[in-house]
């Protein structure tokens, strides 16, 4: 059984992609992930995010939903229609919190859904909690 502290080490040296058009939100998430030694990749719109996902193949992706040029919804569609990226779990991170949003997100292909504002103290733990049951994470934990 892993304790909370060792859970944080799970992400050490792992590539994580964060996509958000709000620079402040992007920075908060990036900083928190850097604190657990993850290799943080950032993108400020869906197009950039798609490119990075294809070329870098991160462990998982965190994405905002409402973005210009390509929204989070469009991004997930693209990711899931590309063999190279369809196995990468994507977590939606958004300030929208209306009824049915989570269901819609999961139906669209997101693995799970976290709401902003996030709790900086528990962000990483919450994040890991919602990706823990994906194949990539299970493999990773098995290795460690």
């Amino acid at each position: 059984m892993t304790t909370r502290k060792s859970i944080d080490h799970v992400l050490a040296d792992q590539k994580v992609l964060v996509v958000d058009d709000e620079p402040d939100s992007l920075l908060v998430a990036a900083k928190l992930l850097k604190r657990v030694n993850a290799k943080v990749l950032t993108a400020t719109n869906g197009v950039e995010g798609l490119e990075i996902a294809r070329s870098e193949r991160p462990l998982f992706i965190i994405s905002d939903l409402s973005m210009p040029e390509m929204s989070g919804w469009q991004l997930i569609a693209e990711l899931k229609s590309d063999r190279a990226t369809l196995d990468i779990p994507v977590i939606a991170l958004t300030a929208h919190a209306m009824a049915g949003d989570r269901t819609r997100a999961i139906a669209a292909g997101f693995h799970n859904y976290l709401t902003k504002p996030l709790q900086p103290e528990t962000f990483v733990t919450d994040l890991l909690r919602v990706v823990m049951d994906t194949p990539v994470m299970i493999d990773l934990l098995a290795e460690k």
């Binding site: 909370r4 709000e22 402040d24 939100s25 920075l27 908060v28 998430a29 900083k31 928190l32 604190r35 409402s66 958004t94 300030a95 929208h96 919190a97 209306m98 009824a99 049915g100 989570r102 269901t103 709401t115 902003k116 504002p117 996030l118 709790q119 900086p120 103290e121 528990t122 733990t125 919450d126 909690r129």
Partner: protein, 508 residues
Amino acid sequence: MMRWNVLAKPSIYRQILASFAVIVVLILVAGIFNSYELTQLQRVSQQVAPVGEQLITVQEYALTLESLDVRLEQFILVGDEATRNEIELAFEQLQSSIVLLQEGTGESLSGDVQQLEAATNDLIAESQLLIATLDEQNTSVNLLIRNVFTSIDDSRSLSQDLTTELLTLVQTTVTEQARFVEQISVQLYVLTGIIFMIGVGSAVYVSRRVAGPLAEMAAIATEVAEGNLEARVRVKSEDETGRLGLAFNRMADQVEQTLNDLKKANRELKEVSRLKDEFLAIMSHELRTPLNAIIGFHGIMLMDDELNEESQFMVKRSRANADRLLNLINDILDISRIESGRLQLVPVELHIAELAEHWEAQMSILATEKNLDFEVVIDESLPDIVYADEDAVTKIVTNLLGNAFKFTEQGKVLLKMGSAEGKWVIEVSDTGEGIPAHMQEIIFERFRQVDGSSTRKFGGSGLGLAIVRNLCLAMNGTVTVTSTPGSGSNFTVSLPVEMRERTGVLTA
């Protein structure tokens, strides 16, 4: 009540009245005609009775005559006193009959009666002479006898003639009577026939004039009821049915108008509702996004621990205020959503152990800060998994825990979860300042706190418990409070949800 100026317009009512007036007039005319006949009938009838009496008198006369005939023969043979007296009596009877006939018969027969009187007087005289002669035993007896009996025959035939005359008179009267009766009957039959035809004719005419328009109106009304709002009655006359048709059309106009107004109002309402939803969605997003940056950066600064004590304190306070602002925004949006009925609960599988761990982690920071004990206890009666809406349950627990920490300065906050009677029971207890009995119901109302000044001291919008109660109700559950001022409070939530062990069957 009909006003008389209605005469100016055509009217079915007037037509009905006119028909019946004609009928009544005809009946009166018939009555008048017949009354003439009836009077004649009456007059003629009066004549019959006296004629009957006269017949009887003549019959009596004839009988007396026969009796006299017999008595005279007897007297001729026997000649005794008794017979003479009877003969005298017969003379008197004949004469009194004549008197009756004279009095009773009319002008037409007075001649016959006079003749009869003369014959009777002759007879009496000759009979008396016969009697006198017989008394003297005269030889002219045979002649006298012949004279007497001839007189008897004369009188007899005359009385028979009179009888015949009287009978003829009776017959004529009766025939006249019959004729009048027949005339009256015919007239009555004809009149009845005419009245009947007029009556039927009027009824048919009136009913067509009324029933026709009414049937048309009923058909149009059905059409309108089935949805054809433009159907209208054709108004063809100015009488009562015409006015009814006009009134009906006006009403249909009104209905069409009202329906169109309602449709428009409904569209506008839908639009307003849609705009409100849009507003909530946008506000939700717009208000939260900046707070993400604020809370995020503050948290990171505190975690990095590179600030001096003073700066750290200020950042902490700043962060606390940002949290307060976030809570306020969340509460407002929640209550707005719940109360406008837009809350949709989506039960999902929840792992009790995970939830407990999460809440413990969330609150332990606050506990450490306020130097309070915080304990999470899971009773073994509670299965591993429950099915409920995660957001709703989280909100309930977070609100209750938040309150517990807020109003407790020393001691302990306890979160206990278990099951009772098939329901998921969540208890949040604290050793805070408690809630007086009279406030224990009010605090669940919007914007209410135990102490109005608490808002300043403890912060908060006063919406938390209102939200907790609304959510419990939405899940068919309950929330109750027990408290002793000065010792602490206990909030108990009971939710009827499906539960199961990790490797077991569903228990509700």
